[in-house]
Symmetry: C6
Subunit: 76 residues, 6 copies
């Protein structure tokens, strides 16, 4: 498990949970386009396209639902 | 934790919960495009495009699902 | 709380719940484009674009999931 | 309640639940474009556009999640 | 119930559940475009458009959430 | 069950769960476009289109919600 990029869905705080959701969104992209160079080359395209940015935020939001549920919403 | 932008998912009221959902949507955009100047420059593009506005409302809706569940729907 | 636009997620009936979901969708748009005049000007664009209408219905559907869960699906 | 278009989320069977999900999707469209004549005029546009059809199916799927949960998945 | 296309959300296995999710996605399309001939004519358009294929996979994923929950994730 | 591509939603770790979610997304595409040659031919189109990559990540995120819930978020 030492090298796992996702050893657990549990985080200390909501903020770390949101960061993990962002990571999941990126790994989702990576699993379709594994070439880091290509992803880097595409960055200006989506980073300046408002609709791409909104869509990215949506993927993060969906992943954050999962992470937040896993952490029982950090209620305790 | 003092400087956390997301110390908790709990809010006093549904209205504050909706505002927090809106904030999450914005932070999701920011995590892909961290440059505030670029985001500001893109604003007229999406703020006058109905489809971008609907998509933004959708990201807020997804985040509001998370916040509302965290708050047990403010039932008490 | 007197002036809150969202004092509660609870409604008497499913029909009122659906109306509230529609309201949340509109407030989501408003939070990105607060200028009522601009929103009014954009209306013909999306009100006659089937894809915008379907997307709007989707945002309402997502919000209705939240409202319906909050009301325990009005089962009682 | 006599004239409510949505007196309940409960249905006898999954099939009726799916039909109700379809109805919710249509009412969602109607709430943004209340003019039946306009909606009728737009029909050929989306009924022959595969992406509109897939998007419509998605809105139905989201509404069906709500209806199915309300009915405890018709498990009994 | 004999002729119901959806007598139950329960399936023996996850694989059959995924097949049922696919069926729900197709019925969702059918409910908007009931003419089989038109749907057949549109097939080449979406079957060779990667974005349509991804969108179709998304509708299946949403329906699979419903089916999987109905089956308590086939945990037993 | 020997030949099932989806014998179970349970995985040992979150990382394997994410891989399974990716697989579900691909099978979803395959169920609409079963011809492997066509899918291979389309790959360059979506693998270099940032919006397709974000959409793919979204489908994975939705499937990961299902897998994570099935595994009780690997909390134990």
């Amino acid at each position: 498990m030492v090298d796992s990029w996702l050893p657990s869905l549990l985080t200390e705080t909501p903020e770390e949970g949101f960061a993990l959701a962002t990571k999941l969104a990126r790994v989702g992209v990576k699993s379709t386009q594994p070439d880091a160079e290509v992803r880097e080359r595409l960055r200006p395209q989506y980073a300046e396209d408002p609709n791409s940015l909104i869509a990215s935020s949506q993927v993060i939001a969906i992943n954050f639902q999962t992470i937040a549920a896993a952490n029982a919403y950090w209620r305790d």
